[in-house]
Amino acid sequence: MTGMIQELANFWSLSDRNVLWVLLGAALLGLSNGIIGCFAFLQRKSLIGDALAHAALPGVVFMFYFTHSRDPWLLLAGAGLSCIVAHVCSEYLIRRTKIKEDSALAIILSLSFALGVFMLSMIQKLPIPNQAGLDKILFGQAAAMNSADVKLLAISSCILVLLTLLCFRSWRLLVFDPVYATSIGLPVRWLQGALSAALVLAVVIGLQLAGVVLVAALILTPAAAARYWTNKLGTMLILAGMFGALSGVFATQVSYLAPRMPTGPWMVMAVTAIFAVSLLFAPSRGLLIRALRRHRQQLRINEENVLRTMYKLLEQHRSPLPGLDSAQILSFRSMLPQQLELVLKRLKRRSEIVQDGALINFTSSGYQHARALTRRHRLWEAYLAERLGLAADHVHRDAEEIEHILGPDLEAALLDELEQSTSDPHGRSIPRSISKEHEHE
């Protein structure tokens, strides 16, 4: 344990030059890819990042074959060129043929990957010096990063962030509503071109660290995670950048502590973990809060149903009953006994009902609530029967669902429509609203 803390301290002292390069590189890459990825994500072009990454491979190998150089700028240019070729090809397929976007991208992706692997194995047989490790581009290798690589990453990240700042307004409009953007005379083709170029750059600078196969995750996953936390594009970009950078830092640390651990895959793991947390716990969009909301809604519906059943049972008797027992309620309302138990407990706590031995009866506020619910239910049934001409035996189920949504405004609207009705299609009287009753008194 102390050994681990010592190692961590070593890591953060940043005395190891190599660690510093990798750390900076991974953080910058995560940042810029996260930001640019938001636009691809929102444009629903998630597959494009992956296709571009695979398309970069033949470009890199090709460039190396001709120049015999491992200069990162040259390889970057090669990758960029082949990405652009692939992009133009897929656009052509999408626009000019009946092939849909996903198929076109899949075709381009696998073709260029095949081409790249084929060329890789070919040059390995040639007597070109300095080629050891070129195949690392498939899965990425952060440990091999040096100052020249980090410089390239830093410059490219700056370009990407600056470009995003400059184009933010136009890109947002372009992604949200391209037709409108054209109608007000925006240079839509140029803007889309710039966006595509930015995406190509983001993919290509990620190759060394994350590799052809994984780099797409660094582009999309931060955006998908960030979308859960905000409804503002600006905030989303910042969050996605942060998520990317954080996972870069985390991955570098992991691979420092356990040198056999590769940085790229750990970066993907980290950013996916952030995504999973967002998916589950984000406020208002997260799965957990939504499940909780559904659960509360269901509880409320059960409560309202029990109240209404009690009202119906009690109104059938001329002389007031001292109360009902749960068996009577269960015979009219199909629910499990333990469900009813829970509902009754909650109603008691809110003092809508009182229980005396086995007998359950309304309090006065509970009675009024039940009466209002019954009123809505029967009004809606009457409306369905009168206005939609539904048969009396058809309306109950519909009303069961609607009554829980009807608010006072819709109730008033229903009342306007049904001036004359005093009974529902089953012949039961619709209780008058409490306030009306007071008017009469």
Binding site: L42, Y180, A181, I184, N231, K232, L233
Partner: protein, 255 residues
């Protein structure tokens, strides 16, 4: 005679190599509420987009106040159909309406007080000022439509082109939009709508353009909206034209 707000001359438009509008000719005077009417697939939306120069025309031209449309884009405001955008996009009502002001601004220009005022005025005009900080996914269909109309209003244009502004909106929104149309007309603005509802046509619009792949008739509603013209618009007898269109498309695909 004064220069018409919109003049379409012998316009033929192909969409994905398929001619969808043939030899359209009409002109709409300034300060008109005009409706483009026709059955499904008659090319109404295409006509609207072609008027804005969004689609390449095979032949013919569109003039806006006597000048080519591409020089006059700044005085045209477009209201697309609601379905054309993703309503889950992370953006607020106010930000969408602000697009009408800042969409064309170069990136270094900040939003001015005037821009802000125009946006607030547009939001008020369509009755959604209270919703300005809402995320767009929280809006009803009618409110979505109002957001798009507010965005067009914020452009302070002379000509408004709207693609089915009444489709799927509530009665209150329809009334509010009609009220707004009257105001725009009073301010000598020209409104051109794709419209579906024949019952309200004569009440809402004083000019109609009847299309069904070709122009059937165009003119003042009272004179143009005759049973005979409607019959021609909706009554088919276009079998031959559709057949030719289909053939042209096939041949181009084969080539």
């Amino acid at each position: 005679m004064s220069i018409p707000a919109v003049e379409v001359h012998d316009l033929t438009v192909a969409y994905r190599q398929r001619p969808v509008l043939w030899d359209i000719d009409f002109s709409i005077p300034e300060g008109c509420l005009a409706a483009v009417v026709g059955p499904n697939g008659a090319g109404k939306s295409t006509l609207l987009k072609a008027v804005m120069g969004l689609l390449p025309s095979t032949s013919g031209y569109v003039n806006i106040f006597g000048e080519p449309v591409l020089n006059k884009r700044s005085i045209i405001a477009y209201v697309p159909q609601r379905e054309e955008v993703d309503w889950d996009f992370p953006i607020t009502v106010q930000e969408v309406v602000m697009m009408g002001r800042t969409g064309r601004l170069p990136f270094w220009r900040r939003v001015s007080t005037h821009d802000r005022n125009m946006v607030e005025q547009a939001l008020t005009e369509v009755g959604i000022f209270d919703l300005k900080h809402r995320h767009i996914s929280e809006l009803s269909g009618g409110q979505q439509q109002r957001v798009f109309i507010a965005r067009a209003l914020a452009q302070d244009a002379a000509i408004y082109l709207m693609d089915e502004p009444f489709a799927g909106v509530d009665a209150a929104t329809e009334k509010a939009v009609i009220e707004l149309f009257r105001k725009l007309k009073a301010a000598r603005k020209t409104v051109i709508c794709v419209h579906h509802d024949l019952h309200t046509l004569a009440d809402y619009f004083d000019y109609v353009v009847l299309v069904n792949l070709r122009l059937v008739a165009a003119g003042q509603t009272s004179a143009t909206l005759t049973p005979e013209n409607l019959n021609k618009t909706y009554g088919g007898r276009l079998g031959l034209l559709s057949e030719i269109t289909e053939r042209v498309r096939k041949r181009q695909v084969d080539m």
